[in-house]
């Protein structure tokens, strides 16, 4: 074997503070060959970002690499001087960051930020630097590089910014590119395009990649080899095909069982969340760090130092009992049986619309502009059903949630909840019964809980407000019951939200919502900020609560695989309008609306043997202020018929069983498409 490009040997990283030192990475060894794509998978706090920062030599003022070596091109980066590190960052290793909006300087034009790299490291003249920057911007498929360079970051979309960040990394001609969750937070179609770009640039420049992510699907798509990290340890390492076909470590196997898949749903499979939480860094368990959460933990075996063991060629596992089956046997109570929908319409939207007046003229005079957030929404949900609303940012799905919850009134149409029209009623005008009937769970649990109140407080307040509990004792009992229902330990009622994990906070938010005994629960991206295993646990919890309470859930999400798992009916929205609506199975099979088809083909499938059809949308989502007159999707539709799409609102084509597709293409032609996912041809 030739010398690897990057070789990490026995790396130990500690963070020191006035209260003592914690070890983020105890002893890590891995190597990446030139031109290879290495994926590191793990959940928050597993040390994957620390690893990248250790490679870049930027651990911050309290981070220290206290043992081991990081050899890059034969030189130990841990011994490098500041000058050498600068040169290495400019010519050897560069980085692509999560959240491109934050990674770019808001007060400097894109061009200057990019040109800095060749100006600093290659001694290029400003003219040369400009020429090179324009060339690289063309390589990352940004149209009109000169105009991009003259703009500030806030004038670009998220996807464009990430392309700029990638261009910045490429300007250094790196041999190794570190990618830190580069597509987290981007829309699925944008994510697919960025991943395509990464693959294409890798082919073109032969750059090696280290790609860290929590999204197993992304790993399957872009990586050759995968390392799984847990609590700073590499617990398993194998080729991407091997790890998906034959995961050995209990953590890897559990993690895989938490990933929603497009070929299964809640009726055919249950997520298997990992019990408990990762140990805190200062109380690292003896021996196997996953031991305390492992169903196959054996005292005397697992609490001793565990070596990495080769189980096949290139497949390493840090587990002494990986051949035993009991490691993975799911307990029967972990299986989730979803509730059957009742034949009673709980929620119905009829020609619902929401328009914002933007004013925007001097002193409020003149004709204002209008932003059409929702237009002509028609759908209904039965009791005990999960109806999912999917779409990218700007599709108007959150606006609908706000109207439903009474945070904003609708501007037209009706919104019936249990037969009562709530469309024009804000939460203030609704009766307590009407408010209690519709409850919300929001995306970001950190922002929804008041940090100065204990976790039990909001739940108790809802109980009193809606008269669900009269006396103090009754309130306390009900709060305890609700905490039990969301599987939170009773003592957490008195904790401040700051001391709870993200998953626990979201459970408190769910308990708060269910305290009002709602008929409709609106969940606006409730799990998108959470780790996969936590997400799986929350989804299971929602299904279990729904089983006992019979609540209708409106689940708003951009994650199609999750929607496939959870939903009974799906509404696909684009620019404020419904493109397609139908039962979940019908929606994920042809005929598709061309937009649904594009969304589906963009989903990274957590299986390296599956090839997805390659449909990419060009351009950006048009502004909701100047919406296309005909079909909203016409400007980006890959299957556009002709001028009719621009000018005429498409008809709803009925595929039976409530499956409607709003498209000018007749159903027969929509039906004649290949399936999106194809198992790879043998060989």
């Amino acid at each position: 074997m030739t010398t690897p490009l990057l070789s990490i040997e026995g790396l130990r990283v500690e963070y020191r503070s006035s209260t003592g030192a914690v070890t983020a990475i105890p002893d890590l060894t891995l190597s990446v060959a030139a031109g290879e794509s290495y994926g590191i998978v793990g959940e928050s706090g597993c040390g994957k970002s620390t690893l990248l920062m250790a490679i870049m030599g930027h651990l911050g003022i309290n981070g220290f690499a206290t043992a081991g070596r990081i050899l890059f091109d034969g030189r130990d980066l841990l011994q490098a001087s500041a000058q050498e590190l600068m040169r290495m960052r400019g010519h050897g290793i560069s980085m692509v960051y999560q959240d491109p909006s934050a990674a770019l300087n808001p007060t400097m034009k894109i061009g200057r930020q990019l040109m800095e790299v060749p100006l600093q490291h290659d001694g290029a003249s400003p003219k040369e630097a400009r020429a090179r920057t324009e060339r690289i911007l063309t390589d990352v498929h940004l149209p009109d590089p000169a105009s991009v360079m003259a703009r500030y970051p806030h004038q670009l979309s998220g996807g464009q910014k990430q392309r700029v960040v990638i261009a910045m990394a490429l300007l250094a001609n790196p041999k190794l590119l570190l990618l830190d969750e580069p597509t987290t937070g981007l829309d699925v179609t944008v994510e697919a395009a960025v991943l395509d770009l990464v693959g294409e640039l890798r082919d073109k420049y032969g750059t090696a990649l280290v790609y860290i992510t929590h999204n197993v699907g992304v790993v399957a798509k872009v990586c050759d080899r995968v390392g799984v990290m847990y609590l700073g340890d590499l617990v398993e390492e194998a080729s991407v095909k091997e790890i998906f076909a034959n995961p050995r470590h209990p953590y890897t196997r559990r993690l895989m069982a938490c990933v929603p898949r497009l070929d299964h749903d809640k009726h055919t499979i249950s997520f298997l969340p990992i019990p408990g939480q990762p140990a805190p860094l200062h109380a690292r368990p003896q021996g196997c760090c996953f031991g305390p959460r492992c169903t196959g933990f054996a005292p005397g075996l697992c609490d001793r130092a565990i070596p990495l063991e080769a189980v096949a060629k290139g497949h390493l596992v840090r587990c002494v009992r990986h051949e035993r089956d009991d490691l993975f046997a799911p307990a029967p109570q972990e299986l989730v049986v979803p509730v059957e929908a009742r034949d009673e319409t709980v929620l119905a939207a009829e020609h619902l619309g929401k328009v914002y007046d933007l004013g925007g003229t001097l002193f409020g005079m003149g004709s204002g502009r209008q932003l059409i957030a929702n237009e002509d929404l028609n759908f209904e949900a039965k009791g005990g059903e999960v109806i999912a609303i999917v779409g990218e940012s700007g599709s108007g799905k959150s606006t609908f949630a706000r109207v439903l919850a009474g945070l904003q009134p609708a501007t037209s149409g009706r919104l019936l909840v249990l037969g009562q029209d709530l469309a024009q009623l804000g939460a203030k005008q609704r009766t307590p019964q009407q408010v209690g009937a519709v409850q919300m769970v929001f995306q970001n649990p950190d922002a929804t809980l008041n940090p100065s109140h204990s976790a039990g407080f909001p739940v108790a307040r809802v109980l009193r407000k809606f008269g669900k509990a009269k006396s103090g004792r009754e309130t306390r009992e009900r709060v305890s019951k609700l905490f039990e229902m969301v599987r939170l330990a009773p003592h957490l009622q008195r904790q401040r939200p700051g001391r709870l994990s993200g998953g626990q906070k979201q459970r408190v938010a769910i308990a708060r919502a269910f305290a009002a005994e709602p008929d409709v629960l609106v969940a606006d991206e409730p799990v998108s900020a959470l780790d996969v295993s936590v997400q799986a646990a929350i989804v299971n919890l929602l299904l279990q609560i729904q089983k006992t309470q019979g609540t209708t859930i409106v689940f708003i999400s951009h994650d199609l695989a999750l929607v496939r798992h959870l939903a009974d009916h799906v509404v696909v929205m684009y620019l404020g309008k419904v493109m397609e609506i139908g039962p979940v199975r019908a929606l994920f099979e042809p005929p598709f609306h061309p937009y649904t088809e594009a969304l589906l083909s963009a989903v990274p499938v957590p299986d390296p043997t599956v090839e997805s059809k390659h449909i990419r949308l060009s351009g950006e989502t048009p502004s909701p202020i100047n919406v296309p007159k005909g079909c909203r999707f016409a400007t980006r539709c890959p299957r556009k018929v002709g001028a009719i799409c621009d000018d005429v609102v498409p008809p709803a084509r009925d595929n039976g069983d409530g499956h409607l597709i709003h498209c000018h293409i007749p159903l027969e032609r929509l039906r004649q498409v290949e399936p999106i996912f194809q198992p790879e041809a043998a060989g």
Partner: protein
Amino acid sequence: MVAFVLKRLVGLALTLLAASFLVFVVTEFSPGNVARKTLGAYATPAQVDLLYQRLKLDDPLLVRYGRWLGVLTGILRDPLQDPDLKLDFRDPRGDRYFGNFGYSTLFKAPVNDVIWDRLKNTALLAGIAFAIIVPLSLVLGVLAGMREGSWIDRTISIFGIVTTSIPEFASGVFLFVIFGFWLGLVPGTSPLTTSAGWSIASQLLLPVLVLVLYDSGYVVRMVRGSMAEVMNKPYIRTAILKGLPHRAVVTRHAVRNAMIAPFTIILLQINFLISGVVVTETVFAYPGFGRMLLEASLSKDISLIEAATLIALTIAIVTQLLSDIGYALLNPQIRLS
């Protein structure tokens, strides 16, 4: 951007109008009647009654405000200059001109003869102090915030807290003891006349030093806080991991972003330096604007109070406008939206 500035200018004029009304109301309605205040404590009741009628002080408030505004803008005659009143109020500019603030009873001179000299003196003091405070605080603040927790940071932060917490009268006396009493370099008072043999520059030294010490500690801390926050931003990490040297990271990427938040605070110091330095001016017997305002208030010199307050307000509103414009210039997200 032009529309933005125009819009703000219109707003400025309206604010000023509203503010002038409030100033008028507050000063005219302070205890005691206007005629008595104008004539002083030794006037006979008959004189006061006569003036009261002449000034038509029985009229409704809005009418009187309108009349005052008319005198100010030069539309109406100043009633106090009427020779019939035998007040001996004479203004060489005449009794009808734009910017007629009336007659100061304290200084026995038209307000315009008194106020602008005082304002000039204060502007001199404030200008020199501001010209030192801003660059000094920016440099120290950036140096401190650049590496949070370093010894430079700690030294500068402690220096800032100490200088801000010493009151001006204490530091004034303390500095005089060193520079005036022991070293004999500067005089103890700064009347801005050269009759005592001290140069104007030597008279300015101590007041400027007191103001710089007192005010820069505060500004340094603001700049430091903002700088430290910016240095923890992801885009600074991007700049570092691009392989830029530390100096370039700070000067090119951090400083401009770190200026956005303290910019307003820095401009607010102008207001403080013009009208808030009463203590320093009093300690050094400096013939400044703040001290004049204090004296006018103590002797109920209505016209002078009204004029001085209006000028101070104008300065405050103009600096606010400047800070809004500067904020937009520094922050492209605001400028281009």
